[in-house]
């Protein structure tokens, strides 16, 4: 029992890292994804083509490779080195290292690309009539987007979005490629040090519970937007 609690507490530390990575990725990649979706829909062809290529590369290469490249390539090419140190913002032990930040950058960029495609699909599915109705009522383009279109887009993209977000929480384990000590890493530690395999399955339970919470949250949001049809 004592061992079980020890395992759980160490895994909880790994979960906090995974959760932070998850949360910060969401916070930064959602607006970035929206911005990217605008760029891929731009009337200015060079910008549009550039961002289509960027999205293609980001969705077309493994995330693990992108994490690797973001952390090691600058040093290998003698541009700059991610200083190997704790940033000083010690929130939870030593989890908040520059390795964490490098992983975060990779996750944000990668997920922004996926989100941008979801946004694009959502935005393009809104009927032209909504834009026109806004225009003839004298609204600015910005007002039309934020006051009329956005909520309809959100309602439509919640199912694909929840899918992607659930994938994200499990993808956080890829951060251990560059030594970010997240949940799976902590679980594997017990294999190396104590010869215990079952902590890996406890780690699985952590993910499962969290995804359960997310699923309930998404259902709530869907219900909340059920009052209108779009």
């Amino acid at each position: 029992m004592a061992l079980f609690l020890e395992v759980c507490s160490q895994l909880a530390g790994g979960f906090v890292t995974a959760f932070l990575l998850f949360l910060l990725t969401l916070i930064f990649s959602l607006p970035l994804g929206l911005l990217m979706s605008f760029c891929t829909m731009s009337k200015f062809a060079p910008l549009r083509v550039l961002f289509k290529i960027i999205v293609w590369v980001l969705r077309g290469t493994p995330l693990m490779l992108q994490i690797f490249a973001i952390f090691y390539l600058p040093g290998l090419l003698k541009w700059f080195v991610w200083p190997t140190m704790n940033t000083g913002w010690v929130w939870f032990d030593t989890t908040f290292t520059t390795r964490f930040i490098a992983a975060l950058v990779a996750f944000v960029i990668n997920y922004a690309a996926y989100f941008s495609e979801i946004f694009r699909g959502g935005i393009q599915s809104i009927s032209q009539g909504q834009y026109e109705a806004g225009q003839v009522l004298g609204l600015t383009r910005r007002e039309v987007f934020f006051k009329i279109v956005l909520l309809q887009v959100i309602k439509r993209i919640i199912p694909p979005m929840s899918n992607e977000i659930i994938t994200l929480i499990k993808d956080t384990s890829l951060a251990n490629t560059i030594g970010v000590l997240e949940l799976i890493w902590e679980a594997k530690d017990f294999m190396v040090l104590d010869g215990l395999i079952w902590p890996l399955f406890i780690a699985g339970a952590f993910y499962l519970i969290f995804v359960g919470v997310l699923t309930i949250a998404f259902n709530k949001i869907e219900k909340k937007l059920d009052y209108f049809k779009a």
């Binding site: 760029c39 910008l47 690797f68 952390f71 090691y72 390539l73 600058p74 040093g75 290998l76 003698k78 541009w79 700059f80 080195v81 991610w82 200083p83 190997t84 140190m85 290292t97 390795r99 251990n176 490629t177 560059i178 030594g179 000590l181 594997k188 530690d189 017990f190 294999m191 190396v192 040090l193 104590d194 010869g195 215990l196 395999i197 079952w198």
Partner: protein, 259 residues
């Protein structure tokens, strides 16, 4: 959009200036930063965390002593083993000090210190297994990708059925789970973990010892830390510190090289 690009560029340049001291002399960099960054994996008895979460082990203790001799702090960071060359060459770490086998292939990409310990590969099987050393060649073998064990399986034994996994401990898990018959891993590692927890059902196969090899510290090519490090290791051998550590952690020293 232009603004965004400008901000990104400025941020990049800022990082570059902050870290530009990382290019050039390693010794100077280490002394300027006031710390020696050592890359490790959790690998008892060489590097592991004690109950208080402090780094300990044969290599960890030595690394801390070496940093002290340079008058800097020792910062031990966990890396993914297969990334060790990238970690060094990207200046993310200064040394790899982790019971690393000094193989010829690896030597083409990084430099080694004088070798300080000896190692060998052993075959690990399930307790009560009827396999003998002669059966290993045709058995299902699990090895860590890119490890000394992998080269033993492929080049020395010329085994027919080799499964590569991402860590030595995963190779052992294969054996417990029955998905492989034999794991070929470091003797140092095997002696430490076989018999613990769910690995209690494993045993080292009698007489199946392969590929005697040596451990060394890894450095960037042409690093000026090498001279300091070699002198340090020899000095610690002469004053008996290494011998004490070797007994404490059950490691065999490479006496010939250290003399």
């Amino acid at each position: 959009m232009k603004k965004l690009i400008a901000i990104l560029l400025v941020a990049l340049m800022l990082c570059a200036t902050l870290a530009s001291c990382g290019v050039g002399s390693d010794l100077e960099t280490v002394q300027n930063n006031g710390k020696l960054v050592v890359g490790v994996t959790v690998y008892p008895p060489m590097d592991y965390l004690d109950e208080n979460g402090e780094w300990t082990g044969f290599d960890a203790e030595l690394a801390q002593m070496f940093a002290e001799s340079l008058g800097v702090k020792c910062q031990i960071v966990i890396i993914t083993w297969s990334n060790k060359v990238a970690e060094l060459n990207s200046n993310a770490i200064d040394l790899v000090w982790n019971g690393m086998t000094a193989s010829d292939e690896l030597g083409e990409q990084i430099d080694f210190s004088v070798s300080y310990a000896k190692n060998a590969q052993v075959a690990v099987v399930k307790k009560g297994s009827t396999l003998t050393k002669d059966d290993v060649k045709t058995a299902k073998i699990a090895v860590e990708n890119g490890s000394a064990g992998a080269s033993v399986a492929e080049k020395d034994i010329k085994a027919t059925n080799v499964q590569k996994v991402t860590a030595q401990v995963d190779a052992l898990t294969e054996v417990i789970a029955g998905t492989s018959d034999v794991a070929i891993v470091d003797v140092t590692m095997a002696e430490n973990i076989v018999g613990k927890g769910e690995y209690g059902d494993l045993q080292i196969l009698d007489g199946a010892v392969y590929g005697e090899e040596v451990f060394a510290v890894g450095l960037r090519k042409d690093s000026d830390l090498k001279e300091k490090l070699d002198a340090f290791l020899k000095e610690k051998y002469e004053d008996g510190t290494l011998k004490k550590l070797a007994e404490k952690y059950n490691v065999s020293l490479n006496v010939d090289a250290l003399k």
